[in-house]
Symmetry: C2
Subunit: 576 residues, 2 copies
Amino acid sequence: MGRRIVIIGGVAAGPKAAARARRLDPGAEITVLERGPHASYGACGFPYYLSGRVKALDELMKTPSGKLRDRDYFDDVKDVRLLLRTEAVSIDRASKRVAVRNLETGETGTLPYDKLVLATGARPVAPPVPGMDRPNVFFLKTYEDARRLRAALDEIAELLRDKDIGGLQDARPLRAVVVGAGLIGLEVTEALRERGDLVTVVERLPQVLPPVDPELAGHLSRYADSQGVRILTGTSVEAIVGDGARATAVRTTAGELPADLVLVATGVRPEVALAEAAGLELGPSGAIRVDPHMRTSDPDIYAAGDCAEKVHVVSGKPCWVPLGSTANKEGRVAGTNAVLGDVDTFPGVAGSLVMRLFDLTVARTGLGEAEARQHGFDVLTALVVGGDKPHFMEDAAPILLKIVVDRGSRRVLGVQGVGRGDVARRVDAAVAPVSTGMTVDQVANLDLVYAPPYAPPMDLLLTAANAARNKLDGWASAVDPAAYREERRSGEPPVLVDVRSPAEHRALPFDGARLVPLGTLRARTDEIPKDRPVVLLCKIGLRGYEGQRILQGAGLDNVRFLEGGVVGWPYERPGP
Amino acid sequence: MGRRIVIIGGVAAGPKAAARARRLDPGAEITVLERGPHASYGACGFPYYLSGRVKALDELMKTPSGKLRDRDYFDDVKDVRLLLRTEAVSIDRASKRVAVRNLETGETGTLPYDKLVLATGARPVAPPVPGMDRPNVFFLKTYEDARRLRAALDEIAELLRDKDIGGLQDARPLRAVVVGAGLIGLEVTEALRERGDLVTVVERLPQVLPPVDPELAGHLSRYADSQGVRILTGTSVEAIVGDGARATAVRTTAGELPADLVLVATGVRPEVALAEAAGLELGPSGAIRVDPHMRTSDPDIYAAGDCAEKVHVVSGKPCWVPLGSTANKEGRVAGTNAVLGDVDTFPGVAGSLVMRLFDLTVARTGLGEAEARQHGFDVLTALVVGGDKPHFMEDAAPILLKIVVDRGSRRVLGVQGVGRGDVARRVDAAVAPVSTGMTVDQVANLDLVYAPPYAPPMDLLLTAANAARNKLDGWASAVDPAAYREERRSGEPPVLVDVRSPAEHRALPFDGARLVPLGTLRARTDEIPKDRPVVLLCKIGLRGYEGQRILQGAGLDNVRFLEGGVVGWPYERPGP
């Protein structure tokens, strides 16, 4: 008999570990336990099923060639025994057995293992407020959650349409309240808006999408607003109130929000109960502690995916970032090592993330600014705005990039971006640099691909690195939007000088700036006050920097430029 | 008086060096000499002006905020003296003077310098055949070239339309022959096709776009063909023949091709005459030898852009790759060092390239397969095909990636891709890994961004790395398309077994393969011949690999799968 590999959890890391183990060991006896009625599905696709872009939910459970990954598939193609609706009740590490129970029949039994892989995933958490159990309050974690939510959306929308019969006043779109402005909350917001629903998003923190820095979140919020989404940050949910059983409103610190339906997306936590009960060590993140081989504190037990702790490759510290991509990589490593012994390693995550919100992309890798400071780095940041292609290409679109650098080592700690342009490519290009500790000087000279349909000759990632170098080396004196906003609120705000063209100045006035176009600046340096701090303003920051160098060359030493210019300004624009 | 910096060449590297030097030294006296009547333009945008996507040629000479980079702009904004139509005749290195001549007035003079930057660029080369001087034979290098070519296209098309008056038979599209299927030749081909012109491309080499490997070029050629472009590879031009002065046809080794217009795009060579005459060293590539500071053999003379030799960061060897992106980076380094002394360095290029051909993208970085062998690496490659997004996303599109690896060190030497999907992002993500010598094992675990609108959970770059690892570690036994094609032509071709579904097998039959769907393979291993080599076929290579592991598990040891499957097959598909 072959080695017995038991895998607990059948969504992402589990099936991956099973498939890999099978390919390496045709003789192994591989069993996957899954509590739910479905396995091996793409949970990240749920929002696109809700919006209707994915026509049928089982598309998410098919192979790229269209085959459903059901029990027969696992049997015939993978030669893996898949036990659905089967719960792992406990692990007896001494005798190397898992006690299982069939959730349909109540039948119990034990499964002996030589190697065990825990892929128990994560579970959603909800704010501890009343009303969470109302029938039209939803989570979006499992296949069944997605099915139920979509059915409810369709049903309520249908009911609201039916009201049309009673008179024009009665027909109205569905009103949804999304609690939590993280990745899932915003993805579902996009989906609901695409359906035509009215969405209000409630977020306890002062910004949306907490993994990105506040400037980027500001752009996201303003953009969501332009798409008819109401975003309430710094707002806590107090209760979900109703008319009988059904929720009709969400009571928040910003008032009561009427709701036909509520989605709670306030995050997830690693599912570690089974591991904890078996005496396996947890890490500081609360997830199962693993070594680089994905091995838990028990040498015969691996953990992979959302239930496992990760190492952050930039900070070197333990962290927990649940993500389908990581689950697949870790599952592969666990599957390999379960068969071959500990020959493969997983180096960790870089905190990479990407999200689409309508036409906007936001992405990040590495450490954010605050995060980098928390880890003790001496942080310098640069913010740049530019086209994702040369401006003469018809589909060029602006993007904003922020780079986070360690001053001493000049190492790039993180890169984030937002915009209608191709942000994902620039962030992906930064993943290896951030993961391997490349310096801004190295990144600035990366030979990224170049042709007008794809990028300007100086890709914005390189420009961001150069902007950071200019600041590190003392050539550029910049003020970022948040700092400028603080200063202008202070007793003695800086003098703002607009170095754009008169036409641009008129079209998009900003904070009462006085106009001195860049081309005239050399001749008009005497008009620039020498006794007060001066901030130069332009469209994206480029001419501001140029102007700063001109004025410094003329002996003015208290001149800075506004990073990102008018386009990069993440707040409401202070008008004329 | 400030330091005198003279820059010869005003297109890309020159203006960049000037701008950088100015920002670092407000007191310097900076002069840029340009032989042509225009400076600081985006020559890479010419094809998009030809197609009409860029409305006016001077768009390519504007800043992102719409200001024309003319002499006034250089004066007012940059405080740089721009001398147009001014030729540098010779360099007297002993007295540090450049002899110049105004090409309009014939006036001559000398310009003293403290630091000199050579940014003389490249010049087009043409096959040494008769007829190259005919008036409707064009090159596309300078601003004036672009203007003349576009005017000629418009004029000829107009004439051909006018023929309509004489009868339906007479009206016909413009027939263009493009000599050379490199980057420029293919970009112009796309532009002409978009105009509605008929294009024939003549290429001396056996494939289009020589910087990419033959498999990728095969996909490009087949795609160009599907777009109505006639591609003649392995075909040499013998003469451009005409009716009087005008060319009417291109005589080639494949016959005479009627032509209303001919574009010669057979490559460029570094423009080094001035440097050579001044006794500066050239490198083995024929370009000006520079050190990492972009300094020539004369410590007061820098060279940057297309006239300068580069180091390839993967091979460590000198090379020459003319590209606007590199010119900008090198110009910045030269500008910095001309002011500050040799504080900045340029590490070299990675041979990165991207091109769009209608809806297809082709891109590469690092070394190609043949190139890697030439440099003495013990090469292993892997070819993978997959979606750029999960298959359930409506805009998912397939891409093919090829990864080139050094067996011993497991280092990734190069990555190339082609497809309708987002190839550029995957190649850009590979630039830093290739440049820093990351291994396939490291690349396989990169935390690339993941969300369904952007990527599948296992990005294809990671899949390519894993495919290479599977081959390196002996798990995968693959045959690539070229090798399979050779084998099937041999006396004893392998037995081809199709592990796709019956429906796929019927829809896209391939080379008489016998059908054994993957799900039935375990039960039917006895049907697979044991005495002959077996190759498994599927759609993209994934099920083929799975099948190979199944059959090897059943004791069959002469089984391989066809890399890339039917979708990755770059040649004409051998039917049923």
